[in-house]
Symmetry: C2
Subunit: 192 residues, 2 copies
Amino acid sequence: MRRSKVYIALLHYPMYNKNMDIITTSITNLDLHDIARAARTYDVEGMYIVHPSPNQHKLAGEILAYWQEGYGGKYNNDRQEAFRLLRLVGDLPAVTEAIKLETGQDAVVVATDARPYSDTVKYRDLRSDILETDRSYLILFGTGWGIARELLSQCDRILEPIAGTSEYNHLSVRSAVSIILDRLLGEAWYNI
Amino acid sequence: MRRSKVYIALLHYPMYNKNMDIITTSITNLDLHDIARAARTYDVEGMYIVHPSPNQHKLAGEILAYWQEGYGGKYNNDRQEAFRLLRLVGDLPAVTEAIKLETGQDAVVVATDARPYSDTVKYRDLRSDILETDRSYLILFGTGWGIARELLSQCDRILEPIAGTSEYNHLSVRSAVSIILDRLLGEAWYNI
């Protein structure tokens, strides 16, 4: 039984683009669907969509309303159940404040990135911390070409990158979230 | 070091819909992108997109050409590298024949499904078979509401479903492929 509460956030700013400029990415419909379904599967407490632009909030708000309260949710109840986890906010402090209000404690903020950084936390260690301590964890996922270094340096921990079997490390954020939730929160299939 | 060759196939017929009717699903652009990127990350030998309809082949063929040879591939070389794994065929026998031609042996055909079936193979066992024997494996992924039972019953093995931490088992096929490739072919993060 997991003792910690786990939240995830999908960030759209400050991200890198291909040329390592700092940019704001757009909200992508399928990110919401795929990541909400994975979050629900692994019993995540909440999934924050973080974007600074009111226009993007309007767009994402319409998608959320369709699946949370509108026809989409009636037609596909499983999708509605996943979309219930989604919350739309403007910046990272709004996420950490909401979690503090909900849990009464500061969340341990864990960034994820495909690039190697020094002092990253290993999957096995973070997994046992989550399972065995009474804390709140917030796991951050980036879009575009990844989370800007300045924001990464403010996080409590950085999770080691996913190493596949090749030098190629260009998973979609949808794949990365799925694999990371499975490693941190999934059944211990390797022991069964 | 992995000793077996591993191929994957994304099937669009015969699938179930929500009401358990047998249907043909459509090819989805983002399935190609996300699954090709995951396949490349985990060093899969080839990824077959299987669809019976010539119209869908035309559509998918245009997407493939854009990323394999056209502007997309020039602009984003990583994507081109992933798309090189993609092959478009009409049915499952075309996949198994192509693999036999390439490897000189019949592939062990492993179906995946979110539903529980009896006599499923465990992740740990399939992983060690793939790592330690000199064979070819073809892992089948369904779309819609899953692969029709008649086809499942013709496969050599059925892989056990992904159990998350809840009763909810509605991952996208993009998430399911990513998690299954990570469990079967990824680094042994749980031992490190």
